[in-house]
Symmetry: C2
Subunit: 184 residues, 2 copies
Amino acid sequence: METVVEFSLAGVIAVLTRTPPTLNALLSGLPSIWVGRNEGKDTWSAFDILGHLIFLERTQWMQRVRIVLETGEARPFDPVDRFAQLRENQAKSIEERLDDFARLRRDNLAALQALDLQPGDLARLGSHPALGVVTLSEVLATWAVHDLNHLHQISRVMAHQYRDSVGPWKAYMGVLHCAGHSAP
Amino acid sequence: METVVEFSLAGVIAVLTRTPPTLNALLSGLPSIWVGRNEGKDTWSAFDILGHLIFLERTQWMQRVRIVLETGEARPFDPVDRFAQLRENQAKSIEERLDDFARLRRDNLAALQALDLQPGDLARLGSHPALGVVTLSEVLATWAVHDLNHLHQISRVMAHQYRDSVGPWKAYMGVLHCAGHSAP
């Protein structure tokens, strides 16, 4: 069996559409003490991660799509502020953040579909400030994988809270041995 | 901020209750070609992982709880068959497996709550065939972390399918650098 799915716009949209209800099912109604815990100093809680997803939904993904289509490589993308979620409204509940994320994602998917991208558009080029030349299909694939990256992180941050509670089973639970693999 | 949540039966139930709707939101309706792909030889697809969750829901978790309560350390738990999902009905759709998992989990949570466990029960002892003496609270915490372990795995297996499609962003996506951390 092959292990790689070919990129398709429909495949990206299938993942992007599912992330808000997935996070809602996972996190809505969980005690705030649970979703507010992180993995230690300078790490993110589920609440922080949602703030990061909201910030990028508001400021990055569709903007990058539009930059590729409107100006191509001539104008590099804005760098991502990875600390912006610390300036998001900290008083909101996890449910309010889930609602904000779902609404922003819905609007962005509507805008994406309104572009009626054709196969030729997916090969158009943009410029990332650190990574260099990228294609529109790479922007879109990364949008979906970025969702999965943070679902992977949220499941790890939640599991971390019970790392002592599982006793000797810690040895068997791979999620408790995942270091996050952050890029330097 | 402390980074560990104290074990509680309510906390375990909060996670166990959320896993079926989370997996449903993530996987239901995804093309079978997507949920059927794995990470290469001898690895699991999302479809396989659901089969594993179903098998343990049917044969392990509540059985272990009952062994602790009924016979304690005298009777070791049965070892887990990690290949049982390969004998589960392969012709089912992902949606049928999601439904099976949701039903089994609902029944098990009803059975767990019917036990009306008291704080003293959580310290009762059982015997794991490889790990030795464990407490009932460790069995229950592991049940929840095992869910999160496989959510972590599913997000990684899905992201893997686009590892080439993201182009140079591969460097930034920790999920694409996660080796699974399986116990030997």
